[in-house]
Symmetry: C2
Subunit: 436 residues, 2 copies
Amino acid sequence: MAFKIGLLGLGTVGQGTAAILLDREGRHPLLKEIELVRVGVRSLSKSRTIALPENLLTTDLEAIVTDPEIDIVVELIGGVEPARSLILKAIDHGKHIVTANKALISRHGAEIFSAANQKGVYVLLEAAVGGGIPVIQPMKECLGANRINTVMGIVNGTTNYILTRMQAEAANFDEVLQQAQELGYAEADPTADVDGLDAADKIAILASLAFGERIKLEQVYCEGIRGISATDIDYADRLGFTIKLLAIASRSLESDTDNISVRVHPTLVPKLHPLASINGVNNAIFIEGEPIGQVMFFGPGAGAGPTASAVVSDILNIAGIITTTNTPHGLAESAHPLMTCTHQHYCELAPIEELITRFYARFITRDLPGVIGKLGTCFGNHEVSIESIVQIDTHGKQAEIVVVTHDVREGNFRAALDELKHMDIVDRFPSLLRVL
Amino acid sequence: MAFKIGLLGLGTVGQGTAAILLDREGRHPLLKEIELVRVGVRSLSKSRTIALPENLLTTDLEAIVTDPEIDIVVELIGGVEPARSLILKAIDHGKHIVTANKALISRHGAEIFSAANQKGVYVLLEAAVGGGIPVIQPMKECLGANRINTVMGIVNGTTNYILTRMQAEAANFDEVLQQAQELGYAEADPTADVDGLDAADKIAILASLAFGERIKLEQVYCEGIRGISATDIDYADRLGFTIKLLAIASRSLESDTDNISVRVHPTLVPKLHPLASINGVNNAIFIEGEPIGQVMFFGPGAGAGPTASAVVSDILNIAGIITTTNTPHGLAESAHPLMTCTHQHYCELAPIEELITRFYARFITRDLPGVIGKLGTCFGNHEVSIESIVQIDTHGKQAEIVVVTHDVREGNFRAALDELKHMDIVDRFPSLLRVL
């Protein structure tokens, strides 16, 4: 039995995928059963580094997803449309799907997986999170014995590159972003990366796998790294922390009702935590569960080769299961229960005000006696327990004060800040960061 | 369809496994289809912390592996016999196997997998390497797109615990070993751990998966940590390295014939390498391939809970594939090609003399002018290129000299050492370590 692949999109990852499928020696022997038969692109004339066999390219993407010869459609176009419509049509025509499209799955996963389950086809998406790092499949197939309480990670290479350089060079955000753009590590429009939207897509997918519930993307709290300054990185460093953009999904197993929180925000990570030393464009996903304890997966979070490795791994897994069942398509009633997505329900995420976390906050205040006392009293009135208040520096008539709290309810901390805003001692608070 | 499990062995991991199977709420829903029906032990009267339902325990292990009701036999006895005979008999009776037994698989894998393939049953062994860390299945099912050139890791928690404490406390091996034994981190007879034998079993299994060849365990080069001194840890630290017991399988993809090297030895790891910061009883497995680049899996390398997580993950995977194929046993001709072990050939490992590596060596020499020159000349005569020779210290009429080489052929380096032994300037060389 040979498996015929139709590829949609021939960008960086598409070319990486085609390169593997056209150079199969020394890889898994099952690859020899897999044949790339069509590649759908927007323009035939665009120059590309990869040399494809003749007649593979077409601009007729509809023809690929409806081609009766094709078993697996690999969607590497990205974005919501036309990817969504093409995938749904491919499913309707009984094709299995491999995709790297986190934006699509985090928004329309329910629709796509429902259609796939009904049709008895698989939708695999290893490449959607963590580039080449195996994480989706390990979560689906290696951690089922566990009650997962936390999945968190560094899932956006661009922001981690920027923060790593800011840390190494004591540089500010704007200058490093500009250099990252020049080097191709950041897009011309960096919004999706630096504002945390890409990380939000990914953690929504991971949270769904970890907790077996569908996640409403619009409920994922999302805060990017534009506000991080060299000053905060320096202060965090002195306090024993590294600032990372973490995507975090956590569930309180103690409370009566599951309390699921999914969020993306810059975070002070203790230097000894495994996530603190993940630098540059690398990604890492950290999972905590009972009884496994803590495990972490680390590797390249992007790039043609790594991401294509994940895409082809999904292709191999679909080919493997079809070989085993001896039917071209999994029967709906006997699809592999670890490979399918059977989440039925959307869960309500806890609002960010209900989060219990530690905070780091930097204040610029008037340099007067009694300021620290007033700060402390205000926090105390809102049940915000302080670990430390340190006056770091004075600038003329102003003082710079850094507060680190114990675990507090975020809503209480914000209420205290609101009150402080209206007191004449606090000039402004340029930074408000959560501590892991 | 429900799956009936027979468990052999109720030690630490056995109890952890039973605990999961008896408390299934909040884990993967497929677990509800899985029932623990028999537990084979040596003694019924031994007191155990776990409370099992009545009539599960038996001392008749043969009866479990031949019980027609049982679908999956989980072997957690350890050691070669009777585990080997029981597993072979279970396979002969059409049972799928889950095992954590690295000693058995590294020695008798060929026999066991051949029997399993013939019978159309699966033998899964996630728990055999890296405790709870998903690594075997990711290697089998997530990295197939790659040409793997290196798998290496910290795969023995006991030795990593000892080295971590030696490093932190500038303590010597013997005292830390004794404390580790008192704390239960090392066995009364620590040979298998501290001499690298346990790590050798594990890297033989990983090498086999990485390169698709069978490994002859007796060809795996194995050197433990008894010779590591506080002095070497200190010097390594000053040079920018941490000493770790690494298990390494590497393949040169450049040479005409594959040149596979599998070995266990203490290694100077650059402090910025991800493996350098894996401390205590944790394990980590680092994999390098084309096109994925470098990925690492990190987590608890032992313990009842983590290891049981891996065991139950294997049970779930077998249940999943049986559900999908709708047959109690995979047909031999259509077994899942990523779940089976189909290696046919033993490969010849390169002898350690052919290894190309950097060395760190510490010499006690006579404190005379010209010693460094003579050392350098001798190395040069054997084509050993030196990166640095530093006289660290003098003790009376003796000098302590540390040599770090560039990449050299190990055979050449040893020949140089042999020659030095016979020169009257070198008193002894207490340490000879490889550098990553």
